[in-house]
Symmetry: C2
């Protein structure tokens, strides 16, 4: 976990203690059963200090999980245009964001951890259910929202695996715009189109 510099000498130690406690509790108990109070208790600080340093529980979660990008940035981009092209805009956003080496490191780290550690898998499930994908689908007001979030995550996680971890060619070397064009119809279908093939 990366250290952050605080203004006073004691700050960074306190922040680290909060982040460590939060990381453990989110992973072991899940998001719902973790509270600012329980995190503060484990870190040995006042709950108000947790809020002072990190804001809401949601913001602390996003901080601890080291997301590759700020979920708050995705929605305005995805919905800046017509409904028929949300898949393409989401694909473009993801592939462009992952050109940044730090974003890519975080994304592959998250998926590698989720593949081997049940606690990290639980964190990623929470992310999928609460963050980017679920929020986009909620905003689209479609049926089968949870299934759509799962299918969307299957293609995005799979793309990260194939392109950045397995490095399957030529997919791994494809310019981001071309890779985005190739998966965009899949994302569009999972976002807005009927799911049943029959």
């Amino acid at each position: 976990m990366a250290r952050r510099s605080g203004r006073r000498p004691g700050d960074s130690g306190t922040r680290d203690a909060i982040r460590t406690a939060a990381g453990r509790q989110f992973a072991e108990q899940g998001y719902d059963r973790t509270s600012m109070r329980s995190i503060a208790g484990e870190a040995g600080v006042d709950p108000a200090l947790v809020a002072h340093f990190f804001g809401t529980k949601h913001e602390l979660f996003v901080d601890v999980v080291e997301l590759p990008f700020d979920p708050g940035q995705v929605l305005p981009v995805i919905f800046a245009g017509d409904r028929q092209h949300v898949g393409r805009r989401l694909a473009d956003f993801l592939l462009t964001a992952l050109e940044n080496p730090e974003a890519r490191r975080r994304m592959t780290g998250l998926i590698r951890a989720a593949a081997s550690e049940p606690q990290a898998a639980r964190m990623v499930r929470e992310l999928i259910a609460r963050e980017v994908f679920a929020r986009i689908i909620d905003a689209l007001d479609v049926d089968d929202a949870d299934l759509r979030a799962g299918l969307l995550s299957s293609q995005v996680v799979g793309l990260v695996m194939a392109r950045y971890i397995l490095e399957v060619e030529p997919l791994a070397s494809l310019p981001p715009g071309q890779a985005a064009a190739a998966i965009a119809p899949t994302l569009q279908r999972y976002l807005t189109e009927p799911l049943d093939d029959t």
Copy 2:
């Protein structure tokens, strides 16, 4: 690596030595640069004995990698019908095969290993390039064959991650036929349809 019973006491030790050597060489050097002779050399046996126990280099590869199913079984199933439904038949085959606990264990094991070990990732790349997906695409005679194999693998690997490793609900609990129906149009597009969104 599972032991196999041989007819003579020395057989299983020899088989194990060959499989260990083959596994190491396929992982470190890749399929092309590994030969029956180089495997036999490392295992300290005659190349003819390798062929006697395991058949061809290809058969030895499939044995060592512990594939979740025999690639030879997939093609007849996929092509037992019209071209417009190869995606559905592939999805049905995969989801049905993965209902078998041993097949699922092998598939998730392969993907977990590939996510964390570069050598396992290389093995999976070889599999994607040579086995199931590439063979199906070759048989379909379409353009961009390698990119299609990569995209196909991205959705299949991602589905295995989401359904069996991350266990995202309701995708994880969906009956295999429904899960197959949900991803079939994606597989169909990667197999036979134009890839460019624009």
